[in-house]
Symmetry: C3
Subunit: 343 residues, 3 copies
């Protein structure tokens, strides 16, 4: 269910968002909801014209919207140029999670004597902080999470439950690691002697910049020699795999189930759709977008949108196209022959 929370007055919210309030500043709301679902004690937002139809009938106590839509609003309103950004900033005020943090070390946690913890740190039950780890101020380590030897977590970083940070990993400030993710597992490196495999010890680390988020059950492997590097403000969804020595530029966003092979470099402000795969040792320049489930096997040097694959269709029709796909080269040659014959 949507989590109720404390009450905020519209005046406070307008101040916080630097928005123009049209309505009674003393009106208090206790949560956020969509235009359709919001009640009188909730605030809604209009950030997408597709939902304009819901504005007239909304029961919301107030609405965040662009000044252009102010006139059509039946309720109190907060006008600002980027209502979606306003919604984001406001949502953080209603987040019930921080309120639950209990500074201190839970008696059922295990913290090595040589670990260094900043003020206001919260270490939950059954968390493990290994020797030499350094936790900044107000770091939160959730239940069952493990911080490896000699790793560093920056101020205000939060590990949810059952997160694993390996040894020698450097995590920036305000980083959020969702439950079940693993930062610093070994990269996939082996040498073949003609008969079988010999492990290449992965001696590098992982460096996560400030404001990075990593989703549930995602994995970022440590480097073979140098580090795997995730830039500032990079957002990584759930079930993502990032291999050893990959580098991701600042502000890039990776959707769920993305897989990036070893040593590939992704630029800044890139966006990879769900299930995208990048081969190893590639370079993607800044501003590249790749649509869902595309496979990229060559470097990309021009910003823009890239795709591969085929759209879904009825299976009985798809079967015909799939068979013809295997005949494509033959078809092309026959086409050329016909053209020659015509001339």
């Amino acid at each position: 269910m949507t989590h109720a929370s404390h009450f905020l007055t519209l005046a406070d919210i307008a101040r916080h968002l630097d928005a123009t309030l049209v309505g009674n500043g003393q009106t208090a709301v206790r949560g956020l909801a969509t235009l359709k679902d919001a009640g009188p004690d909730q605030i809604a937002f209009l950030a997408n014209r597709a939902y304009l139809k819901d504005l007239a009938a909304t029961r919301a106590g107030a609405v965040l919207l662009h000044p252009d839509h102010g006139e059509s609003c039946p309720a109190a309103r907060l006008e600002l140029d980027n209502p979606y950004l306003g919604y984001a900033l406001l949502s953080q005020l209603f987040d019930p999670v921080p309120a639950r943090d209990r500074p201190g070390i839970h008696p059922a946690a295990t913290v090595a004597d040589s670990a260094r913890l900043g003020e206001g740190v919260c270490v939950a039950a059954n968390a493990v902080i290994e020797p030499g780890a350094v936790l900044g101020k107000r770091v939160v380590v959730g239940p069952g999470s493990v911080v490896g030897a000699d790793s560093e977590l920056g101020d205000d970083t939060r590990l949810h439950a059952n997160v694993t940070v390996g040894h020698g990993v450097v995590v920036g400030k305000r980083v959020i690691l969702q439950s079940g993710c693993v930062i610093g597992g070994d990269g996939f490196g082996f040498a073949h002697d003609g008969a079988g495999w010999h492990k290449i010890a992965q001696l590098g680390g992982v460096v996560l910049g400030d404001d990075v988020e990593v989703g549930s059950c995602s994995s970022i492997d440590r480097g073979a020699l140098g580090d795997t590097r995730i830039g500032r403000d990079v957002k990584i969804d759930s079930q993502v795999q990032i291999a050893h020595n990959v580098q991701i530029g600042d502000h890039s966003a990776l959707a769920g189930c993305v897989g990036i092979a070893g040593s590939t470099r992704v630029g800044k402000h890139c966006m990879l759709g769900g299930g995208v795969g990048l081969s190893g040792h590639l370079t993607l320049c800044d501003g590249v977008q790749v649509t869902g489930m595309s496979l990229v096997t060559n470097s990309i040097h021009e910003p823009g949108v890239y795709s591969s694959g085929t759209g879904a269709m009825a299976n009985h029709q798809w079967r015909k196209s799939a068979v013809r796909f295997k005949q494509l080269d033959d078809m092309a040659k026959r086409l050329s022959r016909l053209e020659k014959h015509r001339d």
Copy 2:
């Protein structure tokens, strides 16, 4: 190895499955196996004509099968209309897992004072039950699993090891959560201010219906505002990612590595093959089947089987087809020109 178990007589089994026994009811078996592998103290089943060839030579102590195949059975037999269903029901009798449950709270578990536990609950070592959580009767929480604040688990629900259920998640009755899965991690939501990302706090929850199963290392994210909703009797395999505000209809089944983007609605009795990807904000009607690794980018309003992609072929041939795929539009135009020229 296959787990031996207690002995059951054929008479007991016939009664449990409502099957017709042909043979000695006092014969006892201690486990299930295939027609090929079963020994005299095991029971086998014939649910697929492909295995009919193994029936004559089976050493099984008894066989579950359809009456049509009774005559060909060299051993004692239990006849029933749906032998595969019979196998399923019988397999549960031989499952060694429930027998190991130890009602009570392990001394190495951490249970908040404000949590409410029903009778017969088992909380294993190093499990953590956060404040306000409510566990129904006979709930089993495996070692290292975490139940978040204010979450609810219905009667007879089982969390295996190292499972994470976030705060404010509602789980139905008889739900099974396999090890390493994460229910209620944050959805992937951010607003861009032109320079970088601002987190949208994910204020919704997750609701899992009765009889849902979620596989190992799968993740189901919490909603942004409303809840992510998984219907009754939905079966979800391993390594699956379900994004915020997705809705899955009752009795649908999702195979391994499926990824579903935000706010997409899947109907009832749908089946998604392994690695299928669904874009966000789509609607799939009831009774849709999507074959393995297909990408669906548009809503589907007709029941049926859908596919995308191309079948695997020898790489040297595939390279030619892949090159021609990029020339397809040109080929089609040249084909039209030739047709015009012909007339």
Copy 3:
């Protein structure tokens, strides 16, 4: 950062690698790095001609290389026929992980009375060893990891943090399980009664051969009746899903995000690229390679390289090809008509 470590003399290293040293055997190095990054107290290697350009300018204290490149080396050198293998063996000497192992059972671990532990076993904080489990000599169980009832771990096997090994799983010697992986979750098996699903209890186990490695957040499901079997020296990357009753032959390697459906058999010395999907009940012979993100829906009986899909291209061009893909069968028929007409 790259992890510094203890010092080794070039004479010791030459002896360990059976390499020919050209230079001062008393020179000591404390770590490995690339030709480009290495300093005087580090050793580098040349295993790929692409990096030959970096050799002349390297500041490395010594270089591992093939005798053919000895003359071009400005530093002390260790000559051997397979420098990449030499790098692998040397990297293990600089691995800081084993040095941190603390034999014994951490007071915050939970070990069942009926578990049997070999000499030199390390069980970390909050690890759980269930009844009947058997751990060989020098086995390491990391923090938060769980070893299920009646499972067996061979000598020198290492579980990193938050690993889950289910009940009745047999793990060989020198196996490495990365953090967050799950071995022995239930396979995905259900019988339909016309209205809904009935669980098929997964009564089989998982058997991992000697020298297997499994990556972060990967899952290997237990068999329905017989076991899921992973052969000797099989290397499995992160985010991989292996379904029930799959069999993988010795020395095969599976890259990240691979998914293999139930009962499929993969031969020996096979290599599956990242994101490859194999349908169920297939057989791949020895020596098969499948390129990244290919879907295999039929058995493969000839060694070689196989592929499916289409390469990435600019989205506006891809849209045209994707539309034409749906018209392929029609195009092929029109082409045939033109050919007939020509004759």
